[in-house]
Symmetry: C2
Subunit: 337 residues, 2 copies
């Protein structure tokens, strides 16, 4: 055994409906000494993301299901404490897939060394420069195909993915309308991110009418994070040949029983709409282009990032649950000591 112990969060039962603390357990385990090709990493930050809910299902929607009574996983950024591989040295910063634990031992080739453009902003590699930011970029540009002057509608618009979609669409010359669940989020998008119009779906009344009022020229691209009423409203207001980039449908993730879908899907035919479901992991060929555009945007202040940071692995489950209450603002990050 090494001199290190790790705290891990295990999935101990599969949630039906909204998950709760009982579905998870915090354990402390001793870590082995890294063998040839392995490193021991201390995580500084881990990500909690809505897609993780899908992996808690027995029949996981995205990729494989988390095993029961084992540590979960996801995006994290850490620092090498011990190395038995030539490719990584003590102190190297690594992006890794070993979230839900504060330290771990793994093969060096399962992680990638980061040379951060700003060492004080490591958590950006879990948000704007990480999976959510890359998801925004791929979904909007590859599947939304927005043209300058077109109108882009983004649901969950202040979230880790949505806020980047909004800002990239603005940088590409589009009119952008976001949907959020609080006035504070609306204010941030309008005042800080330059979004043209924001709908608070909790207070706007009929969502289709609110969207039609915000989008007098119709919607050309819908970036789908929510599903349900949002999809229905988007279809109602979309223009012919509109494109929907279907990234997620968070409205349904905690349904114990499946809920019925929109009642106006025939508009897909009549309006000749294209819908592309996508998962960012299939699009690594765009990563270089993404970083080449995104890092200067961040450095020039053209893309703003908002984070909610929760401290300590013992609060990681609460951070995850907060994704579904709408209480968090921007990218939800768990910071370890």
């Amino acid at each position: 055994m090494s001199k290190y112990t790790a705290k891990q969060i295990h999935l101990v039962s599969r949630p039906s409906g909204m998950p709760s603390q009982e579905n998870f357990k915090l354990l402390e385990v001793e870590l082995p000494v890294p063998q040839q090709g392995e490193v021991l990493v201390k995580n500084h930050y881990m990500s909690v993301d809505p897609y993780m809910r899908g992996r808690m299902r027995e029949n996981a929607v995205y990729a494989e299901a988390y095993a029961l009574n084992a540590v979960m996983y996801g995006g994290a950024v850490g620092e090498v404490l011990e190395s038995a591989d030539d490719s990584l040295q003590l102190g190297d910063i690594v992006a890794n897939g070993a979230a839900w634990q504060d330290k771990f031992v793994a093969k060096a080739n399962t992680m990638s060394k980061l040379v951060p453009f700003d060492a004080k902003q490591l958590s950006l590699y879990l948000g704007t420069l990480g999976m959510p930011g890359f998801t925004s970029y791929v979904g909007l540009l590859k599947f939304g195909e927005p043209k300058p002057g077109e109108t882009v509608f983004v649901s969950a618009a202040s979230g880790a993915v949505g806020a980047n979609v909004c800002q990239i669409a603005k940088l590409k010359g589009c009119k952008v309308i976001g949907s959020v669940g609080s006035d504070a989020k609306a204010k941030w998008l309008l005042e800080e991110c330059g979004v043209d119009a924001v709908i608070n779906y909790k207070t706007c009344g009929d969502l289709s009418k609110a969207l039609a009022a915000a989008a007098p020229d119709g919607v050309d691209v819908y970036f789908e994070n929510v599903g349900g009423d949002h999809l229905q409203a988007a279809l109602n207001v979309m223009n012919p040949f509109g494109r929907i980039a279907a990234c997620g449908m968070i409205a349904s993730y905690n349904n114990a029983e499946p809920a019925a879908g929109p009642n106006n899907l025939m508009l897909i035919v009549g309006k000749k709409i294209r819908i592309n479901g996508f998962i960012v992991f299939d699009h690594d060929d765009m990563r270089e282009e993404f970083l080449a555009e995104m890092i200067p945007w961040i450095q020039d202040g053209k893309i703003k990032s908002r984070e909610t940071v929760v401290e300590g692995i013992e609060n990681a489950v609460d951070a995850f649950l907060g994704l579904f209450s709408g209480n968090n603002f921007g990218k939800m990050i768990v910071k370890f000591d």
Copy 2:
């Protein structure tokens, strides 16, 4: 006035739910003498198609709504009786958009002269060689993008569109599964059209289970004519990166109130599915290629066409209503004397 009178069917009220005879009226009108650039045409065949139901709505789903108290329109094939335009001569056969009337006067440039490959099969130009056949070709090949060896699922599979989709997919080397509402239709698809498996959705029980059993390798392409339960089953059984060509959703056309959609749309994301709504009129650039493939297929007996022919304009409304009862078999055609 010319020496001709025409029988016309007018829409006199907008149906709510299933249309009935009261929504329509048969009138006889005198026809004018064709002016310079016009011709007088006697229709031999007219088409009734499900899309026409959409045009009876005030807010039409496809293109513009039919006006009230005016003759409806749609595909027809006729013969020139009088011509005041150099491009068309007495006796020329023309495809035209002036269905729902047995004779009419219109500008010559609104119709196209046909040189039928077989004068006894004029009605094919309303089916396999007309809009429904072209719809099959465009939807399957452009939006379904089937590869040899893949599995294609077709709903309303013995219909004017579906039967061609099934047979084109077979000719392109695919495994084909059709869904129909009668055993006679199933038998025809299996025995005459070479379809690999057919599901009778009225008797199969759980449609997703029946489809999964018929498609042990999953479904790669779904040609959507029906919507509702069929879309839900297709999503359940589709493979990652599956493609849906959304041509129509006949299950919903006569709903007075919109019905809820499938409860599993999140699979679009998880399975990275692409859906393309389309309307054939946008794809005239493929017409030449379509005819170049389809005519030899028909001549060689590789594409079978099945028609239900109703005689007389006074029975055209019944023929149209028959589209929604499932009683017709193949392409529904109205033949005039």
